[in-house]
């Protein structure tokens, strides 16, 4: 998981970069709401040129799963 991806996630989840790691949990009741999802989708589209599926992303429960989604594309 590289710094570029961590920075993207930190901005999307409004968290400190230092707190972003592969085990970070994505909880729909806390940090993984629709705006966070849209932020990640738009960030990945802009920075990686990859369009993620909203439903696939919504089902991710750890940051590492989001990273895996990108790598599969």
């Amino acid at each position: 998981m590289n710094e570029k991806f961590k920075l993207l996630i930190a901005e999307a989840l409004e968290m400190d970069l230092a707190d972003i790691n592969e085990f970070l949990a994505l909880d729909p009741e806390e940090n993984w709401d629709s705006i966070a999802l849209l932020s990640v989708i738009s960030g990945i589209d802009t920075q990686y040129g990859i369009q993620l599926n909203g439903d696939e992303l919504a089902n991710c429960r750890k940051i590492s799963e989001v990273y895996d989604l990108i790598n599969k594309k």
């Binding site: 932020s39 989708i41 589209d45 599926n53 909203g54 919504a58």
Partner: protein, 201 residues
């Protein structure tokens, strides 16, 4: 708890409340709604239990004994419910005033709605409400709406009042500021109060 009537001509009510993680209260709420028409389908989630419980209280307060439409919105420990006892399609979305959007998301939104005089967060809230008020409601709908994959037109009617055109249907939205929250309400009729009024719980 805030309870407000959206329109005196018809029965549309909003309640805003803070969720509590008390185990005792959670148990009490589950029992309270278990054998009512407000029984939750998501028993694992405290926020849905709380929302259903508050919906049941709001329905009693509003005297809604017949069919109804409703919608929930959640933000951290706060939740909101909107109820129409006349089955008008209604929806609600709440977001904290301090909610920040990323630059890339703002750019995407502006690409889709370049001339609309409304903040990017306001646009997202209106789209969320539109998706909730429609029969189809998934995060894919929001992505498609924001990225311009489906034709949605938002027209500013007044300071905080908007018409939302989607296919052959028109809805109306208004955005309020209250309790450090943006509160977006969408309905089929263009009737909104200037402010949301408090009632004591």
């Amino acid at each position: 708890m805030l309870i407000s009537q959206i329109s005196k001509q018809d029965d549309v009510w909003v309640a805003l409340f803070q969720r509590n993680n008390s185990v005792f209260l959670d148990f009490f709420m589950r029992v309270s709604i278990l054998f009512t028409r407000f029984a939750s389908t998501s028993w694992h989630s405290n926020r849905y239990i709380t929302s259903r419980y508050e919906l049941s209280k709001l329905a009693i307060f509003a005297g809604a004994t017949g069919p109804y439409n409703y919608c929930f919105s959640h933000s951290k420990k706060l939740s909101a419910v909107i109820l129409s006892s006349e089955c008008e399609r209604v929806s609600i979305d709440i977001e904290p005033l301090e909610r920040q959007l990323t630059k890339t998301l703002k750019v995407k939104i502006r690409e889709t709605f370049p001339s609309l005089m409304l903040s990017e967060l306001g646009i997202i809230m209106i789209l969320e409400c539109l998706i909730k008020v429609q029969p189809v409601s998934t995060s894919f709908g929001l992505v498609a709406g924001l990225f311009g994959d489906v034709p949605i037109e938002i027209v500013k009617l007044g300071q905080d009042n908007f018409a939302v055109n989607f296919k052959d249907k028109r809805f109306y939205s208004r955005i309020y500021i209250l309790n450090n929250l943006f509160i977006c309400i969408t309905r089929e009729k263009n009737q909104f109060p200037l402010n949301l009024e408090y009632f004591n719980d």
